[in-house]
Amino acid sequence: MQHYTMNLNLKVWRQKSGTSTGGFETYSVSNISSEMSFLEMIDVLNERLIKEGGDPIAFDHDCREGICGMCSMVIDGRPHGPWKGTTTCQLHMRAFKDGDTITIEPFRANAFPVIKDLMVSRSAFDRIIQAGGYVSVNTGNAVDGNAIPIEKEKADDAFAAAACIGCGACVAACKNASAMLFLSAKVSHLALLPQGEPERKQRVVSMVAQMDKEGFGSCTNTYACEAECPKEISVLNIARLNREYLNASLSGS
């Protein structure tokens, strides 16, 4: 692809803290390379803001390899931007053209309160995992591959569900700020495997209860979550979660 440079207008959400009122500020950036990542473009702007004595834009990031789930941001109404199956750090500036105005907002949900600017707290996800997203046995050393026989199809589905990086784009994309795609991935990947079997029922009931406590909405099956998920987690996991939950509720003690 041909390299090019561009000048852009950025409308960025600025908010000093969780308790203060935020608003949009407009910045112009120039000479941005089409080969930069979106976060590098913000790095360029931040370096300029620091040099000018201003406050740099706070945003979450860590691995910048698309696997850690730290980066967030809603770019022109799309969590992680316009590219399918891509995190913000893997979104490159060739997605935009010279003269574009880009609106950058934080993930918005009551359960994801803003910490500063584009950073939100996604601790609610950690607490959902703490409610049951684990296997509480002493696993010891790594066992030999194929020591526990697992059907290929189940192993594939479990692996696909386990690809969830917990970034929260599903919540940000959902009109109800529902965390069902995230939860369904976490429940599915353990429910499909023999290691998850002993705690299967308790796990789903506890995790749903925690999800409700955190203030996420219900799933109304618009499937915007699947469309925005950087790991392309399937909404069929949500059907599995519903099945697991119904089964646990009707047969549980």
Binding site: A173, V208, D212, S218
Partner: protein, 236 residues
Amino acid sequence: MSWSNLFSTSIGKKLIMSLTGIFLVIFLVVHCYVNANVLFTNGEENFNRAAHFMGTNLLIRVTEIGLFAGFILHIIQGYKLEWLNRSKRASRYAVTAGNKTSKWYSRSMALLGSLILIFLIVHLAHFWVPSRITGLEEVTYDGKPYHNLYLEMQHVFAQPWAVALYLLGCFSLSWHLLHGIQSAAQTMGWTSKNYFPIIRSVGQAFSIVVPLIFALMPVFMHFGWEIDLGSITLLF
């Protein structure tokens, strides 16, 4: 956890929508089949006889109470969920993805449901109230008196505004079902890799065919059209 807590969680609330929705879809099939009599020759007698059966059969009258309960539960729970879900994002986005990531009708179930509710109120006032409460003209077949509900339909659908309103009702129903049927199946946990395409296709076909048959009724009655089936009658 016991099953008694089931319906109070976020998934349980959706289960209520799903179960009542499926019940209402079954009602639509029966309602559509019975009323489709008016589209064919000898529609007056066939339809009036069918309506008589529906109005006098004890089992159906008892089910009717369940039907009202189903409607009320679906409506109240739907509005409660809409309000609850809207409250989960206090600060709104300046820019939204719109139709790029989801279908407009999947995001507009409350709006479509409200249009159907307006239609339903008028519809009940047009037909349910006269046939159950205020009374209808009578007609005699084989020496037995029957309510002439067919005549009432002719009166109502002689008015162009009524035809327009019923068409709007059917249109809203079609979009509502287009999302609702597959959504109900998803909430019940019936969808999987194998079944999802089938459920989606059957749901789409149902959402188009059933409202279309309903929509033909006011149009046929308005223009006095009928289809000649020869010796075949739709009467059960």
